[in-house]
């Protein structure tokens, strides 16, 4: 926890525009020169229900949601259900305020809409305020918005009040409103913003803010991006011009971004009847010579198992993205978890082959989305990009220059008609699409419509022309050849190095993690080292083929390793042990599966309890410690 940061939480009802207001506010902070990071918490509900977004801003890089927060803007919930006696959901109208008090730091600020929220409904509110030294500002935001525009514009009034109370200039907020709002609503919004700002400044002494906005400066143009944005742009820059999908939270974001952008690029998006069709369409488009993708979340991805296997067997390049959410079954649709790891690694029958990459940051999401396409097309193998609701939905600033790269539309080992003529064919002219002995196990392919390229793609085992064949010699040759690809891909990935390392190289202890927890772990590692504990971390992205050598070297170099992941069963730790084949006595787990991602303090405390104190009892946190084997 640092003092030179603002963690602003805006809370209200689902459907009240919390997400767009917070996004604009984050962008304004970014434009003012700060580094920003947003964290969304929302229910799986159509209208109403407690929702909030946090915007963390600091002059230093921010890579996680941080611990707790220090500024609350509590708006009303327009769609709150009327409480009836003993209703399980209780009094929803007060939740934007009552549900958010536990995580507010000492000395924090509360701005609430007194037009909609009454603190008398919160038990011991005044005592808690006093105890925690909170600064409370009741403002009639709804009334102000109603008088000058419409009630829904109370979000704007809240932002104006925030700026006044934190010493933030209105300039960037106003610029953003001019960019984003249609003229009809722009003027009343600007008026509301300024009036709220002025009123607060008149009414309260704001010269020494309780919590102030830090100042910072960017050396180059920054973009506010989510993991979903980055994955979509990576796909576009790698020449993907076909996507098929079916809506499912949280994968819908990537699908939507692609769908909205593809027409401009002369590409095609198809929303289809189910996820079986979605994956099968991507296979069909890829087979016909277009770079194609599909994707889903847990349950939808389960339906893709069979087309996934078909792509593996027919060696059709295919990229699938899997946006994890809390399972099993429908689970918690809007909450993050990493528990689809094993599902994605092992689903589909037989000795199937695939690549699985799990990016850890927005920057990596872009790079590994591109990498997924490159590997899929160069090696003719399905590649799955595994991420989660956290990485997909959180926004942070990334330098624009990160995306200033050349496009790569190449199809990989695909033959032109000229080149096809020199390749082996059967006497009847059938092209040997699946040759036994080829470099890296990759046999070059043809595309339907090419002269001299006809072959059969089939999910059955097949001979070099694709003809169904069950002879033992052919079977062994084909399965061995397809298996060879993973060795070649591992060697290729070793030159890319997708891993992320933090902390001193000669550290005594280690933390292993994968995917979206990387940023939070790295922040925790910084704090642990500041506190005199020598620890380093390794965020692993290659789930399959696994970087066994690198992970082994990391584990070997330290006394003990804590594996941090958002699963209940320690799936990533299991994967590490499976690949390393030993070190069970060195690896313990810190797990979280309550629907919320780790905060850095939970990892700091969890690490101290697990490794330093040894009992794993990190009281006050909803994390779970699983000791190493033999402990």
């Amino acid at each position: 926890m640092t003092d030179d940061e603002l963690i602003w939480r805006i809370s209200g009802g689902s459907g009240d525009g919390i997400a767009s207001t917070s996004q604009n506010f984050a962008k304004a902070l970014m434009r003012s020169g700060l580094n920003v990071f947003t964290h969304r918490h929302y229910p799986s509900r159509i209208r109403g229900g407690h929702t909030y977004t946090e915007v963390r801003a600091s002059a230093d890089p921010v890579r996680s949601r941080g611990d707790g927060y220090n500024f609350l803007l509590a708006l009303g919930d327009s769609f709150a259900r009327n409480p009836q006696e003993e209703a399980v959901y209780g009094n929803e109208e007060i939740k934007p305020l009552s549900e958010n008090l536990d995580e507010l730091r000492e000395g924090g600020v509360i701005v609430y809409d007194e037009g909609l929220l009454d603190t008398a409904e919160i038990p011991n509110f005044d005592e808690r305020v006093e105890e925690n030294d909170w600064h409370v500002y009741p403002l009639d935001l709804r009334g102000l918005a109603r008088d000058m525009g419409r009630e829904v514009m109370r979000n704007t009034a809240g932002v104006g009040a925030t700026c006044a109370l934190t010493g933030m200039d209105l300039e960037h907020v106003e610029d953003l409103m001019r960019d984003a709002m249609p003229e009809k609503i722009l003027d009343p919004n600007l008026e509301i913003l300024e009036t709220a700002y002025d009123q607060v400044r008149e009414e309260y002494d704001v010269d020494a803010p309780d919590v102030s906005v830090p100042t910072g400066e960017h050396e180059e143009t920054q973009l506010l991006m989510s993991g979903s944005d980055a994955i979509a742009y990576g796909a576009i820059d790698e020449g993907c011009r076909f996507i098929a999908g079916y809506p499912m939270t949280p994968w819908t974001e990537v699908f939507t971004i692609m769908t909205q952008n593809l027409p401009e690029l002369g590409g095609i998006s198809e929303q289809v009847e189910d996820e079986i069709a979605a994956a099968a369409l991507a296979v069909g488009a890829s087979h016909a010579g277009v770079k194609a993708m599909s994707g889903s979340s847990g349950g939808g991805f389960a339906l893709m198992s069979e087309p996934l296997g078909l792509a593996e067997m027919t060696e059709t390049p295919l990229v699938l993205v899997e946006a994890m959410r809390a399972g099993p079954s429908t689970g918690m649709p809007t909450k993050p978890e990493q528990s689809d790891l094993e599902h994605v690694l092992y689903t589909s029958q037989g000795d199937s082959q695939r690549v699985v990459l799990a990016p850890g940051t927005v920057e990596e999401a872009y790079e590994q989305s591109r990498l997924a396409f490159r590997l899929a097309y160069e090696y003719q193998i399905p590649t799955i990009l595994l991420y989660d609701q956290k990485l997909g939905g959180e926004l942070l600033n990334v330098p624009k220059s990160h995306f200033d790269r050349e496009p790569n539309p190449t199809l990989g080992k695909t033959l032109s008609e000229d080149a096809l003529a020199d390749e082996p064919h059967s006497a009847d002219g059938k092209f040997h699409r699946f040759q036994h002995d080829v470099d890296d196990g990759v046999s070059p392919r043809s595309i339907p419509g090419q002269k001299g390229g006809r072959f059969l793609a089939t999910g059955n085992e097949h001979d070099p022309t694709g003809h169904i064949a069950e002879s033992p010699d052919n079977r062994v040759a084909q399965i061995d050849r397809r298996g060879q690809k993973l060795d070649a891909i591992r060697a290729d990935l070793d030159t890319v190095d997708t891993g992320s390392y933090a902390g001193p190289e000669d550290a005594q202890y280690g933390i292993l993690t994968f995917g979206s927890q990387q940023g939070t772990v790295e922040e925790a590692v910084g704090r642990l080292n500041d506190a005199g504990i020598s620890v380093k971390s390794y965020g692993v992205s290659d789930m399959l083929p696994f970087p066994t050598e690198q992970v082994e070297a990391f584990v070997e170099s330290v006394d003990e390793v804590l594996v941090v992941e958002m699963t209940a069963s320690g799936q990533f730790r299991g994967l590490v042990q499976k690949n390393l084949g030993r070190y069970g006595e060195k690896l313990s787990s810190l797990l979280k599966y309550n629907g919320n991602p780790f905060e850095p303090a939970e990892i700091v405390d969890g690490f101290e309890a697990a490794i330093i104190e040894g009992d794993g009892d990190a009281s006050g946190h909803q994390t779970t410690f699983v000791p190493a084997a033999g402990d």
Partner: protein, 312 residues
Amino acid sequence: MSTFSAIGEEREIDRDEYTPSVEPQPTWCPGCGDFSVLKALKQALPEVGRSPEETLLCTGIGCSGKLNSYLDTYGFHTIHGRSLPVARAAKLANPDLEVIAAGGDGDGYGIGGNHFIHTARENHDMTYIVFNNEIFGLTKGQTSPTSPKGHKSKTQPHGSAKEPLKPLSLSLNAGASYVARTAAVNPNQAKEIIIEAIEHDGFAHVDFLTQCPTWNKDARQYVPYIDVQESEEYDFDPTDKVEAAEMMRETEEALHEGKVLTGRYYVDEDRPSYGQEKRAIGEMPEEPLAERYWDDEYEWERSHDQFLDKHA
């Protein structure tokens, strides 16, 4: 050479070109109706001028799926029930290809029923041939979605309690713009219908009655058949949806009363295909997308230039 020079090439095509050398003789049972589908395709394709290398045949799983082994074109033998989504994406990726999908009644009306409904609804420009033998053949004789009520099999020992699915009516209601039924025992009509289906600009569904002499011995051999266009007993307008629906209803009821009616049931030449609809709203390029990857002149767009400023 251009990228896809097999497409649109002007030349005489010999029907032997479609016979593979590896397995020229199909392994279907003697007397199987599937032979007739193969024969009709081998006759129809040269006649419509579509060569093996500009044709993509996508099949499902079952006896019918073996069609890919016996008709030598570009082929995609997919998985059970999924020939249609693979086929329609290939058509969107490269509309210049002749795309034909085929499968059995279990494949198309059972496990792949959802895809059938939606592909018909969307009116993709392709031909879909369903080998309808009212039985699961490859798995040795289980009751299928089109088996008549009361049909006894190892999996329905007391006779099926289910009414059979009505494929023609389903197809019409789902949105297919060409619906026909033919029978293996009627090769001339079969060839003509397959030619019409391939030439039709939209989703052309052919329910092809293919007798199974091994596993469906009680079923008729679909003789004698009646061509509803030729018979004087029937008079309806296949371009009229209401009349088509009524004729389909009569045909589907008559089948299990020993009367095999075949012919063209619905033909809508005016409805735009899905590709045309997509292009009209600007969601599909005019030039085949598959060509672009071979165009050295094409300047590939970058997200950096096109989309990123709105994030600043």
